[in-house]
């Protein structure tokens, strides 16, 4: 029978209350959100704390998805299920719906939160890869106030984040740019499992199709679109989920094509750093990084062009 080592249970009823408890109890205390990463680790005695601070009562305060013209904000206690079921989010960033379909299983998704996913900083965490792909930033609160940290600086290594011992993550923000498309591709050994490897892609098309710039052909046929920007994020092939700036540099200003996707795939395979484990060999994961990058880009571009045409 697996049970955690003894600890004292505390319940926070507000963000300030949670931070106050963290300050009072120091690093003997840990926040628990959905508990679906932390409790399994504590049951295996890979983690032990004297105090657990349950923040599920903060779902009212931190469980939300809000939209403005240029930003999406997701509260840290928003559960996988709520992200999966937001039709509006799926329209703005279809990558979320792709990813949520393959994160764990529906019962786990009833509990797990976006805040817990990011703070767990598991190299295979799918939502971390999504946030990396979309260039998200994280709002971290402490008793001194709030600071906003870009995803690139949020993860500090496997299971390590920029959140200090007396701080908590409260919100994740996603910039909205026009003519966007995004997608997520994951290979797993069986339903509900962690990724062998996964790739997210987000693209933003130039506001004007090339044809219409010439003034002759305003048909947006997907052949002559230009990528204003593109980002790729990989999961399970390095110490953290990472974006690959060399891919962005190679894609910017280019017209999408199979050759371009192949080039991006090659860069993904070169820049990742997978290890051989029971989920697969390093070579196989590198192959997946290549192939899944191509697939994700292809689908993201398709979605962006469909959206621009409609």
């Amino acid at each position: 029978m697996q049970v955690p080592a003894p600890f004292e249970y505390e319940r926070a009823t507000s963000v300030d209350g949670a931070i106050g408890l963290l300050e009072r109890l120091g690093d003997t205390a840990k926040l628990v959100a959905g508990g679906h990463s932390l409790l399994p680790m504590m049951k295996l005695r890979l983690a032990n704390f004297e105090y657990l601070i349950d923040i599920n009562d903060l779902h009212g305060e931190l469980g939300y998805i809000t939209f403005t013209a240029d930003e999406v904000r997701i509260g840290a206690m928003t559960r996988h299920r709520e992200i999966a079921e937001s039709a509006e989010l799926a329209t703005v960033f279809p990558i979320f719906a792709d990813a949520e379909q393959v994160i764990a299983d529906p019962v786990v998704r009833n509990r797990g939160t976006i805040g817990g996913s990011l703070c767990q900083a598991d190299p295979a965490e799918d939502l971390s890869a999504v946030c990396t792909t979309l260039g998200a930033s994280c709002v971290i609160r402490g008793s001194g106030g709030e600071r906003v940290v870009p995803m690139a600086e949020f993860h500090r290594g496997p299971y390590e984040t920029a959140v200090g011992p007396t701080e908590m993550l409260t919100e994740v923000r996603f910039p909205i740019r026009p003519h966007a498309g995004s997608a997520y591709e994951k290979v797993e050994r069986r339903a509900g499992d962690w990724a062998v490897a996964a790739a997210g892609a987000a693209v933003w098309l130039d506001s004007e199709p090339r044809g219409s710039r010439g003034g002759t052909d305003s048909e947006y046929d997907g052949q002559d679109v230009v990528l204003a920007d593109a980002r790729v994020g990989l999961a399970a092939v390095g110490p953290n989920t990472v974006e690959i700036p060399s891919i962005s540099a190679a894609l910017r200003g280019q017209t999408p094509s199979e050759e371009l996707y192949a080039r991006a795939g090659e860069l993904a395979a070169q820049s990742c750093n997978p290890v051989t484990d029971p989920r697969g060999s390093a070579d196989y994961k590198r192959h997946l990084a290549d192939e899944l990058t191509r697939r994700a880009l292809r689908r993201a571009v398709q979605r962006a062009t469909d959206q621009v045409r409609s």
Binding site: V3, P4, Y9, H36, D54, N56, A104, D105
Partner: protein
């Protein structure tokens, strides 16, 4: 510490350790052994109970976290001496063999039907995809849940015979 929650409609208060898992609270503290406990690693789903109407893996929820919430277990499915349509579905369609996965499967099925009274086969398979059955091959479980949906709606009261059975009974 003390915890108070509602289990199958009844308020219960007990003195517990903070580290006690909900599955052990239900089975050992309350004696509700209908909720099973299998893998211990959040993978098999035999420990699924409803928390405020949503299926959760009770081996991965602290009993303390359930404080103030409503828990429903397989013991709370039947009401007023009547089996729940889900239970009748599993009975009629042979939705179980050893029965180990059954409580979790039935609780997930109940929650699914509460949200979506007429799920497709695909929706049913998706809903139970976090739960493992080592006996049935899932076919009859899916069939049982479909039966519960249609039976509850009163649109189908008799069952098509299962093919393998008619072959067997002919010999």
């Amino acid at each position: 510490m003390q915890v108070t929650m509602t289990v199958n409609g009844e308020a219960v208060t007990r003195e517990i350790e903070g580290r006690l898992l909900l599955v052990h609270f239900l089975r050992d503290t309350l004696g509700l052994t209908g909720t099973h406990w299998g893998c211990d690693t959040s993978n098999c789903g035999t420990c699924v109970v409803l928390m405020d109407g949503e299926p959760v893996k009770s081996c991965t929820v602290l009993a303390a976290m359930a404080g103030g919430h409503e828990i429903r277990t397989v013991e709370g499915l039947a009401a007023g001496g009547e089996l729940d349509p889900v239970q009748r579905g599993f009975m009629n369609c042979h939705g179980l063999q050893c029965g180990f996965c059954t409580p979790g499967m039935m609780m997930t099925a109940r929650a699914l039907l509460d949200r979506n009274p007429d799920p497709t086969e695909h929706e049913i398979r998706e809903a139970i995809s976090g739960q493992i059955c080592r006996c049935t091959g899932y076919k009859n479980i899916v069939e049982s849940i479909r039966w519960a949906a249609t039976d509850a709606a009163g649109t189908r009261t008799t069952l098509e015979p299962v093919e393998a059975q008619s072959v067997g009974s002919a010999s």
